[in-house]
Symmetry: D2
Subunit: 301 residues, 4 copies
């Protein structure tokens, strides 16, 4: 069993600390809000009035805080965990913060001889309560191995993301995609309603196509990911169909800002000579726009 300092007892942190306790670990908890501290103390945790106090005697420090500066303060600030931390301890930041902030923390702790890894979580507060979070562990193999018994108390899916900083990077990519997709899905659903179509009927079709199945595993593997831009469905036609949908939405007074942005991306792809390339070549276009290298071999485009 491990002595864990747990700092940050919000909607996610509190049930996570509770799950560690349930598995027999010793919890030293801190939060600026006294309420969740008191609740956990009532269940057997040691309440602490600062990160420094929480860190006393801890083998592992876990931070689960809203922003990077707050994690920085909890670890390196006045009355921060570093003031009392055993140099052999492991610090695991499970917050969602900027990768640059995470990298800076890692470097600052390394300079003091402290081992730091990130392990942000996916899924929801329901999953935090159930101990079924998705955990993206950014650490060396040794760090991940050391953290695993604890992380297993919190989640049922543990992905080793690579070295420190990789967990938070993976999480931001995943959340970027899922959160933006949520809004795009709502645009399509409202257009569907405005057309007088039941969403169920539309889903019957979309479940058969990349509209629901996505592109990563369907249209891309045989084309752009292989460096083959020969068209099964041309950028020009994709541009045309988006234009039809936007004209239609204009008639129906359904605002579609994401689709409008997408159409201009296809327009730029056409301007760059990609009109007769496969629609998956939009990936190549994005790479070019970001000044990043193509992966299509010379001569095959």
């Amino acid at each position: 069993m491990t002595v864990v300092a747990f700092i940050g007892l919000g909607q996610m942190g509190a049930p996570m600390a509770r799950n560690l306790m349930r598995h027999g670990h010793t919890l030293r908890v801190h939060d600026l809000n006294p309420q969740p501290v008191a609740a956990l103390v009532a269940e057997g945790a040691h309440g602490c009035d600062s990160p420094a106090q929480a860190a006393q005697g801890a083998e592992v420090v876990i931070t689960m805080l809203p922003t990077g500066p707050q994690v920085h303060a909890a670890l390196l600030g006045e009355r921060g965990a570093l003031e009392t931390l055993d140099p052999q301890a492991l610090v695991i930041d499970m917050s969602t913060i900027l990768p640059t902030e995470s990298d800076a923390l890692c470097a600052a702790l390394a300079a003091r001889g402290i081992s730091f890894m990130d392990a942000p979580v996916g899924r929801t507060s329901d999953h935090a309560i159930a101990g079924t979070l998705l955990i993206l562990a950014g650490g060396s193999e040794a760090q991940v191995a050391r953290a695993t018994p604890l992380l297993r108390c919190l989640g049922d899916t543990l992905i080793a993301a690579g070295g420190p900083g990789r967990g938070i990077r993976l999480k931001l990519i995943n959340n970027y995609m899922s959160i933006a997709l949520n809004a795009l899905s709502a645009e399509a659903a409202v257009l569907c309603e405005a057309l007088g179509l039941p969403l169920d009927k539309a889903l019957e079709v979309m479940n058969l196509t990349p509209a629901v199945r996505g592109h990563f595993g369907t249209t891309w593997p045989q084309r752009v990911l292989k460096g083959d831009l020969s068209p099964t469905f041309m950028i020009d036609l994709a541009h045309k169909d988006l234009g039809l949908a936007l004209t239609l939405a204009g008639q129906l007074r359904v605002p579609l800002p994401m689709g409008a942005a997408a159409r201009e991306l296809y327009s730029q792809a056409r301007a760059q000579g990609r009109g007769r390339q496969d629609w998956s070549a939009i990936l190549e276009q994005m790479r070019a726009a970001a000044g990043r290298p193509s992966v299509v071999p010379e001569g095959t485009q």
Copy 2:
């Protein structure tokens, strides 16, 4: 066996006409471009120099043309199919055009006593060749029943979309979603590359989440589609995470116009008092923005 006038022999139309012929139907084909006409004539079709000529003696007319005005001209213009068409014939437009254009054609043909349905297709030219298209049949039950033996020669998935005009509406919704999603996927993939993460690693995570699985069948059914806006993941947090990704992308010089548009949608949702609602409530927000009714029962929000 049926006598079919097929008008429009492009990348999709030509293999479709060929498949009908292979199944024993009699084809009368027309295109402004003489090349594909000649090719099909060599395989046994009757070449025609106008839609009017093609329609002579045809039981069914199929149009597969790039734009609404072209379909209009082929049917109702000078030397158009209507000049010679048997009043008992069925007209099937398989083009991708505006629903308003399709509705207008349907009305114009109805006024002349001609039966009109739409049946646009999904998937690619490879599928057109293989006869494995997805077909969205917009017609009455009787129309669809009559068309089915022909459509089965063209596709392996036939969805009865409802009455005339519903096929093209379904198609535009589906294509809106799949084409915009393609561009959003490319944004995420390039951000991933710029972060130094292999796409495979990101997919290992995203395959477990709505990032790949989508929202229609995952996050929405238990929440917004049930009228339950209690949060498992709050709009405020979705806004925060998109902001982190955009800040990160700004540092890395990766343009993310669709994600940027999405963030402003979440910002508007927050401004409308939805910050502490579930992220699936973005659907409710889009409905409100489009001036459309909520489906959340009063008092449950």
Copy 3:
């Protein structure tokens, strides 16, 4: 004095026809809506039940209609003006339609030996009433000279835009800029209000800068328009400041979709190696995105 067939008596067309009549011209008017026809007849115009009737004996036909297909029908359709028009007459389309539609009309009329020019208008219905419209005359010198006595009855500012089709092109550019700028101004004004600043105070500053004065005559002439991209204010800093404003707006829950799109354009400019170029180089970036030639001489960038 001239006999004028005036087709289209909407919010703009009706007062325009009235002003021609007041200056002594003979008006033959038509509209699908009988009300404005009756009103003008009461003031001395000849009411006509079709464009063909209106065109009888007319020296000039003016169209002022909502869409391109409507102008097409009024001129070339059944009971259209061409059925009766004197081949010596001049047709002036003052509607706002697509340039491609205007070009097609011009060609179709030329094929019938009829002289066609476009002359769309700027400003508002108040100006139509006052006869103080801005008129963008797209025609040959001879056409514009012939039209000028009539156009002077309608507007106080007449700009010779160049040959046929140039008037409508100029108008769309102007309206693109002024309509989009209107929305951008509203974004800035609401951000201002949300910051607790009176708009008057902000205007005191913005009136001194390109924020109100624009860029065409201020920041561009000494820099990008001269091919000089040496920075007075760098793209990198412009990107930074937009990012600050968007972060701020995110805190204040003010959606800024146009500013968000702008930031991604600067991000792309940075990705293309323009971070340390002058902010006016965003023009060069847009040219590159549209696949259009730079005007910056080689070696000066």
Copy 4:
């Protein structure tokens, strides 16, 4: 003459410090980069290796640094100005940072009894050299009066923005508008080029309209700013004209992401029942989207 600690000698800071020196003030300068320090020392300044050293004996401290955390460190960090500063001194931050960061600095200094104001600058490095910057002084009347003799050495236009924090807020509004407008102007200019129109010709028209003159002083004062939404130019028509421009741009392969975002804003305005309101009502729409109060009196809409 005043003893001034000047911290931050970049493209803007260095010429500003120089101008203060030329007017006879005593300069104590610091920058992490030794080069500009050496250059100013050669001209008579006292070089200092930390903000703390620079602040010794200073009557005024001026910071001109890239980011908020850097200003924070220069004032409150280790070897920061506060370690040595005379409590009677005035601190003027002329950097461009987040208002929330500026507010926090103001509060932190107030807690130590130090007077803090902000005075960010407008215009370019050329103006910094010439001493003709635009300065937005955010401070009490007494603070601004005290700072004026120094600020007059740096700029020829000094605007009293109101209390502390108002200068930076004004600046961000101004820069938001001017930087986004720069990109929008480039969209219009490239569309113009793609249409084959010389920009000069387009400017001849746009100089007569809100396209260049803006809306704050033209279309808004008689309409939305007076609470009058009766149309001179309707939202519906603005939406139509933007749609034409975007269709045209789609044909010409000119990407217009800002205009595309704008069109969706007008679409939302139409969905909210504003289609027949004046286009200036887009301001009212933005207020509604941001959850902010209308200024149109009840009953007049």
